[in-house]
């Protein structure tokens, strides 16, 4: 079940505090995190929706991190679900990945094996000889 407009508004407020942007990374609001990116996560893991909704139902006015902390202490499991949803929505976002230089878990050629530099590093280990009893 999709989030209600009210839940989404509360989620936006939380996301803005928890992911404000900085260090060359966009904030949640810059990438509309509480919209499609969050829906994408909930589509993959629908079991998170109920726990997230429960947590969001407790949210009234949140303006600062201490406000979020108070809510988190009241419902740690719900906060865990919130964190899972926000973090995954954030780091699955193409723009964020570009900003941190992360191509994803990409495929690379492994056939090169050890380089000459690697083998040179290994030489002193070989020269010290056996270490077993």
């Amino acid at each position: 079940m999709p989030l209600t407009p009210e839940e989404r508004t509360r989620l936006e407020a939380l996301a803005g505090i928890m992911l404000p942007g900085g260090a060359g990374m966009s904030g949640a609001s810059d990438v509309n995190l509480a919209q499609d990116p969050v829906d994408r996560v909930l589509h993959i893991e629908p079991a998170l929706t109920a726990r997230l909704s429960r947590f969001l139902s407790q949210v009234r006015v949140v303006r600062t991190m201490p406000d979020v902390e108070t809510l988190a202490q009241q419902d740690p499991q719900g906060f865990k679900a919130l964190g899972t949803v926000l973090a995954n929505a954030y780091f699955m976002h193409e723009e964020i990945r570009r900003q941190i230089g992360y191509p994803g878990q990409e495929a690379r050629d492994s056939s090169g094996g050890l380089t000459g530099q690697d083998l040179a590093l290994l030489r002193p280990v070989q020269e010290r000889g056996p270490i077993h009893r």
Partner: protein
């Protein structure tokens, strides 16, 4: 109700069950294997998809209590410092293992003689070496032969995988200290090999290989076993090993996903259900109880880690993961350290960006969020790697598995209840090793280090709960896995290990299974090949 008849019934289709089934089939015997999980196709794993870090928290989580698939049984670990980890499926927990492939060292088989603790194994490294070599051929082990930690150099059939920027950085630190390291050996082929694809260094080994590269028994053993006629029944949860009027094992009862009971009869029954599942089944069946050791001596390898962060891009999400390097520098006993035995280190990549988002310092719930999250990811992501530390967990009778009186699985069978505490020796060992790993990181140039003294979800290596030995009063099985008390009943998984070593055990589990099943084939003239 189905009634199946075969020469041999095996419970569990993981690494040891696969070895046993294939060798028996090659010897011409009819074999039925009962596996509570299912086949998992490579394309089901999420490694190549953006949601990789999301689904590892749920359907690919190694803790069955978190994963909660229909084929999983729950585990009550409230009285344990470590959670047992496993996976039910054709290929077993290897489906989501890191494929770290290391032999036990010679001293691991002689700890009583050398260090005056625990028990010697009934056989030596030299006895087991040919079986290591045998299973390493089938498991596509990539690595560099000549490791000075082994008398024979621990030869590998395939050349090593690249060690990359992370490996070189770690190696430089170890060289500055004059400490042992060696390129990691992994059950991951560095080139196409017997139907396996070459590794693509995706770094998602621990959540399943989506590229068909990692050597897992569903790819390395089961195709041939099934071609030879092995009957593999999935979705089959075994509830009881049956015995005849003479007390001989004669089959197993299993429950399918619809709750219907079936029976597989055989002249021999072999348990390969891991260090938790096997003793659970023995206890549920009321078998092998003479020594009182079933379920006791549980060893799970407490795991600590030291993460180092560097002031340069190391591309530290790149695999294998898998171990990039290993070190046995502090593996052997030095009593001046205040403990006996030691630990193996494995150098591993740090993974994706979410590895750096959470606050684990015991502070507020929100401490890892806000500007701190952005700073942490910017400073650490791609620039960090881990020295993981696997400490030898010595056997203690009180560390044990019992049957829960309160918790059951979906078929109403009692769940295992784990009682487990780390010993003082282990605490001292991990403290020593994490301190040395910090030094290794600093020698490599780390600008920051973080120590995780114990990771609760680390019980990958389940051993000791049906211990082997010569004396039926103090052990459950003999050196070939034959249950002392029950003719025709065998255990061929890590349950039989007298000690745990400080090594990832899959290599030894498969080698010991090969040794046991080949002895069974040679010695049991009463199991006439049916073909």
């Amino acid at each position: 109700m189905l009634e199946i008849r075969s020469d041999v019934v095996i419970v569990g289709a993981g690494p040891s069950g696969a070895v046993a089934a294939l060798e028996l089939a090659r010897a011409g015997m009819s074999v039925t294997v009962l596996e509570q999980g299912d086949w998992v196709a490579a394309e089901e794993f999420d490694g190549a998809r953006p949601e990789w870090e999301l689904t590892q928290l749920s359907k690919w989580h190694p803790n069955p209590n978190v994963r909660g698939r229909p084929e999983d049984y729950p585990i009550d670990a409230t009285d344990s410092e470590v959670n047992p980890l496993m996976f039910a499926g054709v290929g077993g927990a290897a489906l989501i293992y890191g494929a770290h492939w290391v032999r036990f060292m010679p001293s691991d088989f002689r700890v009583r003689t050398l260090d005056g603790v625990a028990d010697d194994w009934p056989f030596t490294y030299e006895d087991l070496a040919p079986f290591y070599e045998y299973v390493e051929e089938s498991m596509a082990v990539s690595g560099l032969s000549g490791n000075p930690a082994y008398p024979d150099g621990a030869p590998c059939p395939l050349p090593p995988l690249p060690i990359g920027k992370v490996g070189r950085k770690a190696a430089e630190g170890m060289n500055r200290l004059g400490w042992h390291w060696w390129p990691g050996s992994n059950a991951i082929p560095s080139r196409a090999y017997r139907g396996l694809q070459p590794c693509v260094l995706r770094g998602t080994c621990g959540t399943g290989c989506s590229d068909g590269a990692k050597a897992t028994p569903d790819r390395t053993h089961w195709p041939e076993a099934q071609k030879l006629g092995v009957r593999l029944v999935t979705g089959a949860r075994v509830s009881e090993v049956e015995t005849d009027a003479q007390g001989r094992a004669c089959g197993a009862v299993w429950i399918d996903r619809n709750g219907i009971r079936h029976r597989a009869q055989g002249d021999v029954v072999i348990l390969c259900a891991n260090g938790i599942g096997t003793p659970r089944l023995l206890l549920m069946s009321g078998l092998a109880g003479r020594s009182g050791m079933v379920g006791r001596r549980l060893m799970m390898h407490p795991y600590a880690g030291v993460m180092g962060t560097f002031d340069e891009d190391l591309e530290s999400w790149v695999g294998p993961a898998g171990q990039i390097l290993v070190s046995m520098q502090f593996y052997e006993t030095d009593t001046t350290r205040g403990f006996v035995r030691g630990a193996k280190w494995n150098c591993m990549p740090a993974g994706g960006p979410q590895s750096f988002r959470a606050g684990y310092t015991g502070g507020t719930l929100t401490e890892g969020w806000g500007p701190a999250l952005h700073d942490s990811v910017r400073r650490k992501f791609g620039r960090s790697f881990e020295w993981g530390i696997i400490g030898e967990d010595l056997p203690v009778a009180e560390n044990r598995l019992t049957l829960s009186e309160n918790l059951t699985d979906s078929d109403g069978l009692p769940a295992p209840e784990i009682h487990y505490r780390m010993s003082g020796n282990t605490h001292r060992m991990l403290a020593f090793h994490t301190a040395r790993a910090v030094e290794a990181m600093e020698a490599a140039g780390a600008i920051a280090t973080e120590v995780t003294p114990l990771i609760r979800d680390c019980g990958w290596h389940l051993m000791g709960t049906a211990v082997m030995g010569d004396d039926p009063e103090t052990s459950v099985v003999d050196q070939f896995g034959h249950v002392h008390d029950v003719p025709n009943l065998y255990v061929m998984d890590g349950s039989t290990f007298p000690t745990s070593s400080g090594m990832n055990p899959t290599a030894t589990i498969m080698a010991v299974a090969a040794r046991s099943v080949l002895d069974l084939i040679e010695s049991r003239g009463d199991i006439a090949p049916s073909r």
